[in-house]
Symmetry: C2
Subunit: 238 residues, 2 copies
């Protein structure tokens, strides 16, 4: 496990500002994690009550983003952080945006759940959703854990897992197009499953983004737009 020691400051208030940012990001992350789980349950069980609840909670996530962003601006303006402290604040600014988008994607899945509970289930695709859902839930849980522990190795594992999700997504999509061809009357319903799968694939992308932010935070390396192999090489070079 990597250890990032945020600089110790003469002002204890500054330390507690940074600690507060971190713990609030983890609270927001936990909320997003539950939203994804609930949205997937709503889709699988065609439960529109759970789905409506996901849609309501989405506002809370938005509020978390706005509040945390404001706090980051305050810390930048009042504390003028440098080095690893500055990276911490910048990481939080970027990370909450990814978390908020993940919440949006969970909400999209919930909306598909409501539409499918109205129109009747799709003729297939649920296995694919379940399978991709499990992979993506693992990624989200793991990347939040990596942030909590400033763990670069674990962040790297998340970036690797995203490739697997992308492969699963491509194979699920091929499978699902055949359902549409076999029974064109169910195209509209199958499209809902496609949007849910797409949302999961996007949640995977955002988890990978967060993994990249964590690597930037701990090692000061910008690894965006870099393949997993190259990231590994860059990390080993230091």
């Amino acid at each position: 496990m990597e250890n990032l020691h945020l600089d110790k400051h003469i002002s204890q208030r500054f330390d507690s500002d940074l600690e507060a940012l971190k713990s609030q990001v983890l609270v927001m992350g936990g909320l997003v994690e539950r939203q994804i789980i609930n949205a997937l349950t709503a889709l699988e069980t065609a439960d529109s009550i759970i789905a409506c609840n996901v849609i309501e909670v989405e506002d809370d996530i938005d509020m978390h983003e706005v509040k945390l962003d404001e706090q980051c601006t305050m810390v930048l303006a009042c504390r003028q952080p440098a080095a690893s402290d500055l990276r911490m604040v910048l990481t939080v600014i970027k990370m909450i945006r990814d978390l908020e988008r993940m919440g949006d994607e969970a909400q999209k899945i919930a909306k598909m759940a409501i539409e499918l509970s109205d129109s009747g289930a799709a003729p297939g695709g649920y296995d694919e959703v379940r399978h991709m859902g499990a992979l993506v839930q693992d990624m989200v849980h793991s990347v939040l854990d990596a942030f909590a522990r400033f763990d670069v190795d674990q962040a790297l594992q998340v970036a690797k897992a995203d490739k697997k999700v992308d492969r699963e997504y491509a194979s699920a999509m091929r499978e699902i197009v055949t359902y549409m061809m076999e029974d064109p009357r169910c195209i509209t319903r199958v499209m809902k499953i496609i949007w849910a799968l797409r949302a999961l694939e996007r949640i995977g992308d955002h988890s990978r983004n967060i993994a990249e932010h964590i690597i930037f935070l701990v090692r000061g390396l910008d690894v965006r737009h870099t393949s997993v192999n190259e990231i590994e090489k860059k990390l080993n070079r230091i």
Copy 2:
């Protein structure tokens, strides 16, 4: 037109840092704008050479993002900006992320163009792409202009235009599902058009995000997760 006067600094170097950030964002924006136009041309004319070029240029956009982000971190660390200067740097950090995503979406459209030039054209949906493409191109051009002039009114118009794009998207999707039902053999090809339309809808969303960043920059108001009517009220209240 609104005027934001970035604070004048004892250090002329600081002024030129901020000016450089602004002009480089506009260069990056111009690049993204051209990518969208070229990707749409490639799709419409089934021209895989133009499409391949879009995919290549995408790397340049990624490099712009990384470089600008680095410059923002430097300004924060060395100049410790406050008030409107700090908002300027934070706006650039957020805006370049939206621009980079818009570039990604243009690249997705280019990929669909290549696949359709290989498999033969889709049986329909091109009118919808053309129509939504024109709306979205206007939004992108307009929001970059609003940033260049720090023009809140124009930013508000872009936020309004996004609602229109969302409506067009919903209506295009309904239309396109009927093509699939009428001829299930062409489902795979029609799906490419659906992904292109989805990419355009996302580019519209990112333009709206940028419009919101501009309002934050000029007026210091966070208007994310707020309806256009509420934004208008908030702006008039000041």
